[in-house]
């Protein structure tokens, strides 16, 4: 288990990698930086701190689905840190061979192609069912967004997960309270997901979504009888002060002026950005 200082440095470097990757590909297009920053610790806890056994050679491996696919950069960065892809390959391939949404076609280690919201949880239910059917001692993890919970298919999947007693299914809600245009609460007058999922038959846990230690503890807990929902309280754009909690940053890259702040906060030199 890593030292907290090492973890924080790791995370800062990962945010830096995400940012550099996005900026390097800026000529091709924009990126979902803020959404990637909010789920970074979750992915880190899963892959790097090995809450998940994701040895691709094993059929009994655990599965991770990033249902909020626009957090792809965080997934790629963590996969790179976990040894599934080199840093250089990521920087080279992003928005050329691998896209803004994860696809199994593009990168080994992606368990499900996502992009349109509300699909990944259903796919996760199917995987968890198959794991049970084959009596594999494995789990399926699905990361969903709170905006994503506006899609009806999420609730179909939730009903189903409980109906099939999928205690090997762990859903992590990256609860950053924002969506593309505004706060989730302003869009749908609703922000208490705990009650909702509990009433749908889930065990509920809540955690600071940026505390790797706490995430790890929860991910490693034995879960029984019901599917598990982990509400990870996160900050959209975490890591860059001007992005944090600001809906304007959903699909945006910094302009020249803003770039200075990004560079300062992430310790990025001019050379690194060229």
């Amino acid at each position: 288990m890593q030292d907290i200082k090492d973890i924080n440095l790791d995370l800062k470097n990962l945010r830096k990698l995400i940012f550099l990757t996005a900026m390097k590909a800026a000529g091709s297009g924009l990126s979902h930086l803020a959404s990637s920053f909010s789920c970074l610790e979750i992915l880190y806890a899963l892959y790097v701190n090995k809450a998940v056994n994701f040895d691709l050679n094993l059929r009994e491996r655990d599965r991770l689905i990033l249902s909020k696919g626009h957090g792809a950069l965080a997934l790629y960065a963590v996969m790179s840190r976990a040894g599934l892809m080199s840093r250089e390959e990521l920087l080279k391939s992003y928005l050329k061979d691998i896209g803004g949404e994860p696809s199994i076609r593009d990168l080994k280690g992606i368990e499900a192609s996502t992009g349109s919201l509300g699909h990944g949880l259903s796919v996760g239910v199917g995987m968890a069912l198959a794991q049970k059917l084959d009596k594999l001692n494995s789990r399926t993890f699905v990361i969903i967004g709170d905006g994503e919970c506006q899609e009806g298919s999420i609730w179909e999947a939730a009903i189903s997960a409980a109906a099939f007693d999928l205690d090997n299914l762990a859903v992590i809600l990256d609860c950053n309270n924002l969506q593309k245009m505004c706060a989730v609460k302003d869009m749908i007058k609703l922000d208490n997901w705990s009650e909702k999922f509990k009433s749908f038959g889930f065990n509920i846990a809540e955690v600071d979504g940026h505390d790797v230690d706490a995430l790890n503890k929860i991910l490693n807990l034995k879960n029984h009888d019901k599917p598990l929902l982990i509400i990870a309280h996160t900050v959209k754009g975490k890591g860059i002060s001007m992005m944090e909690n600001n809906a304007n940053w959903h699909f945006k890259l910094p302009n020249k002026k803003e770039l200075k702040i990004f560079k300062a906060e992430l310790d990025i030199s001019d050379e690194e950005l060229s």
């Binding site: 949880l121 995987m127 059917l133 999947a157």
Partner: protein
């Protein structure tokens, strides 16, 4: 056709434990038998078609072979994006069986009619489309679909459809078709798909009796399609006809139009089916077909008019 489907599925499920009978509260009356024999191979997701397809993708990712079965309308329309993004984009080995094809649910009206499925599903890469005309052909199509490891949509009816074959050993192939009536030097070439074959066959027989040389081809493979069937017959024909329990836009008529355009075949094509309208009327399947231009009488009338109109 439902019985034919389930009997074939039971047979396949016995020999391949990875085959799953996947439904969304869309029971057939044979499910109890299935459950009794193969309890670990049946999954009912309840009234959640989008979720069912997504879950099927998850199951297929771990090497299960889901045979997903419900109304074609609910699959092709409601779950279209899930078929597209989760099944086709990942090219997963899932068989999607849309029952109640065309106007089969004849008492329930258009919400339950599957009359645009060919049009929308054709545009999905990686998805093959089969459209069996009879119960035996349903069994043969299911067998054929099982042979490959990629997505297949099979369009089947649900009422006691007329049988044209002796058994289910039909040696079907993707991109194949059946020459049902082979009339030398035909003036008229009818292409039919699905159980409407019954009406098309009646029409073709009557036309031949009246001295209008008519051939009839049953198109059980819509994607890929037997292009040679179009190619082979054009030298003689004055008129091509497509007959389908489907909108005339984008279905069998669309497929044939595309082939003819690609190959520069300059024969007039009369597309018979729903003329870009929702079907009207309620009653028996036969009655609703008749009310929507799909009885043999109406087919004959349309063909004769098309022949007279010909310049």
């Amino acid at each position: 056709m439902q019985r034919a489907y389930m009997s074939k599925l039971l047979e396949l499920a016995e020999h391949d434990k990875n085959i799953l009978h996947v439904i969304s509260d869309s029971g057939t009356g044979f499910d109890e038998m299935f459950r009794k024999n193969f309890p670990a191979q049946i999954y009912n997701f309840g009234i959640s078609e989008q979720h069912m397809i997504g879950a099927a993708a998850g199951l297929a990712s771990l090497n299960k072979i889901p045979f997903v079965y419900t109304s074609g309308a609910f699959l092709a329309y409601r779950a279209f994006e899930f078929i597209r993004d989760d099944v086709c984009f990942n090219n997963l080995n899932i068989k999607i069986i849309g029952m109640g094809s065309g106007l089969s649910w004849a008492t329930l009206g258009p919400s339950h009619h599957t009359t645009e499925d060919i049009a929308v599903l054709r545009a999905l890469p990686n998805l093959k489309i089969l459209s069996p005309a009879t119960p035996f052909q349903v069994m043969a199509c299911v067998e054929l679909a099982y042979k490959i490891n990629s997505p297949v949509y099979i369009r089947i009816g649900m009422n006691s459809e007329k049988e044209f074959f002796n058994d289910s050993n039909l040696n079907l192939k993707f991109g194949g078709s059946d020459l049902i009536i082979d009339t030398q030097a035909s003036d008229v070439c009818i292409f039919s798909t699905g159980s409407i074959l019954e009406e098309a066959e009646s029409a073709a027989t009557i036309l031949n009796g009246r001295g209008i040389k008519t051939s009839l081809i049953n198109c059980y493979s819509l994607k890929p399609f037997d292009e040679s069937a179009v190619d082979k017959n054009y030298k003689h024909a004055k008129l091509f006809v497509s007959v389908e329990e489907h909108n005339i836009m984008g279905g069998l008529g669309g497929i044939i139009s595309e082939i003819m355009a690609d190959k520069g075949i300059g024969v007039k094509l009369k597309r018979i089916g729903l003329e870009d309208k929702f079907a009207s009327g309620y009653g028996s399947h036969k009655a609703v077909r008749a009310a929507n231009n799909l009885s043999s009488e109406k087919i004959i009338k349309a063909i004769l008019e098309a022949l007279n109109e010909r310049v």
